[in-house]
Subunit: 329 residues, 2 copies
């Protein structure tokens, strides 16, 4: 049977308030009392219980991360940054994984209502403005990562800019028929990246051609998978008029695309998006999103807001960086 604050209090000959104070550093307790309490606590292996502390203090020292799916390179990297910061600050991490089938907004509201955490980090959760607006009434610290809404702090990367740079880098090399290896068309990153792609084309006076936007059939993880990239590239190589070069919506899709080219004995310059750790090792040119930094900074920002609810809202937008490697040589 685990011991409670009452057991410790009795054994140490003090009140439960004192025991509580000892475990909450801050308050004043004489060194002698503190030691007495700690000795007893250690002897029986006592530790305050998270529930009870949470109920009584309305704090639980927990940050909740809400993501679409954990097993994805982008989230993995962002989470790495989140953890680095959280470890530093001594907060606990909880993860809520929204499921694909059900209503996203409902799930998000559910998380907020249950009040599991003191602060929430929403990673790649895309809602409509009026839905975000509704969430403001929960009046709880929220930081958005890879999304943007004016009433919450956010940390994101300019997707339009990134896609623009990627596409432009290909056009600058003289390629004219530049395809975009896409994914689920309705997804936010795809929509933004398509805009950047078009922008680069039009700047060069090249007409946009719908048939050059190609995606695979498998829509698991919205198509941001090796398989999605593989399928799309196969399609591309089977076109009557094969594209000259290709901008891939993510590095992981580019990995699949590379395999497809190999299997088909074809070759074409391609550039990815993300710069996952792996890309350096397979020589993939790409657009770098500072994923780890985003997670790190977003967490820091969130904790600051938790301490000061009235601080001005900050929108941090990273500039994506073009990374040249052999895949576009």
């Amino acid at each position: 049977m685990a011991s409670t604050i009452y057991d410790i209090a009795k054994q140490a000959g003090v009140s439960i308030a004192t025991v509580s104070r000892v475990f909450n550093q801050s308050s004043s307790v004489s060194e002698r009392t503190r030691k007495k309490v700690m000795d007893v606590a250690e002897a029986v292996g006592y530790h305050p219980q998270a529930f009870a502390q949470g109920l009584a203090s309305k704090k639980n020292n927990t940050i909740m991360v809400v993501v679409p799916v954990i097993s994805n390179y982008f989230f993995m990297e962002v989470l790495g940054g989140v953890q680095d910061k959280l470890g530093e600050l001594g907060f606990d991490l909880s993860i809520f994984n929204v499921t694909a089938g059900d209503d996203l907004f409902e799930q998000v509201e559910h998380v907020l209502k249950r009040r599991w955490a003191e602060g929430y980090l929403f990673i790649s959760i895309h809602l409509e403005d009026k839905q975000w607006k509704q969430l403001t009434r929960y009046n709880v610290p929220i930081t958005l990562v890879d999304e943007h809404y004016q009433e919450f702090d956010s940390v994101s990367v300019d997707n339009v800019q990134g896609a623009y740079r990627a596409t432009k880098s290909l056009l600058d090399k003289g390629f004219r028929r530049v395809a975009m290896l896409s994914a689920l068309k309705s997804s936010k990153p795809i929509r933004d990246r398509l805009v950047g792609y078009k922008k680069a084309l039009s700047e060069k006076g090249i007409n946009f051609c719908e048939s050059l936007i190609i995606s695979g059939e498998s829509l698991y993880r919205d198509g941001f998978t090796e398989r999605g990239g593989y399928e799309a590239m196969i399609k591309m190589l089977n076109m009557d008029d094969v594209p000259d070069a290709c901008f891939c919506a993510s590095d992981i899709q580019a990995v699949g695309a590379l395999k497809a080219m190999k299997d088909m004995g074809a070759s074409m310059p391609i550039i990815g998006y993300d710069d996952i750790e792996l890309s350096e090792y397979i020589g993939l040119s790409t657009i770098r999103q500072p994923m780890r930094d985003m997670g790190f900074y977003a967490t820091q920002n969130l904790v600051e807001r938790m301490k000061n609810h009235d601080k001005a809202i900050s929108q941090t937008i990273y500039s994506p960086e073009l990374i040249h490697r052999s895949s576009t040589d």
Copy 2:
């Protein structure tokens, strides 16, 4: 101000016990009463609060996963499986990330003491038998993944066997100087895999040679990184007597090794370990660990134990499978 069970009770004209019952499905409440309560609850957006439920019921519907580091392919895959199962069962997921610098056992005890969860999944947490033994006194459901101790349920893969098969596959092809691209020597997986490697050698009557066990310098994540593999392969290629073939302790290291070979204009058959999703796409031969299944099954097992503390302890050991791809052709 969020509403409580009292507000709902008052507005619905019932007792708080009844409101509580409505939210706990199980108990009997007349359809009329239930509806009345639900209507009010919905109107004000009421939801029971996790803390209070936890305190009162000693349950919190949460499973805690304890891992060394999230941002790692192996854990990511295992976590994917955990999530699949958890979603199905309606449990919440919490993650505790043990930090590298501090005492592992202390951290693990800390997690258990705080009683955050109803069940714990320890992934790749390696302790000594007597330490595991000590944890049994917490008397809480624990399932081990990628580790083994007789008093807890566990799900693991036979590392000795896997390394043996990998090495043997190379020897069977006629290679004699087969190196092992290693990582932190003191880590459990490395120790086990070394045993399998040696076993395969001795079976063929080949002497074990210490100088063929090579690892990189960077020990971030115990050396299980692209960089670790890269550095090790560079060393290998610079040896006076370059090995004929190489068994890599993980796929991710193999990715680095492949790059090193390319950079050095060298080539050598290599086989990895894990079979991360990527491997198929880069043609890496490897030993498959069913990571997703392991996470899935371990979670199921844990939940079963949570429901029945007295069920017999089960040790599930998966057999690693040899996957042939082009890297060993």
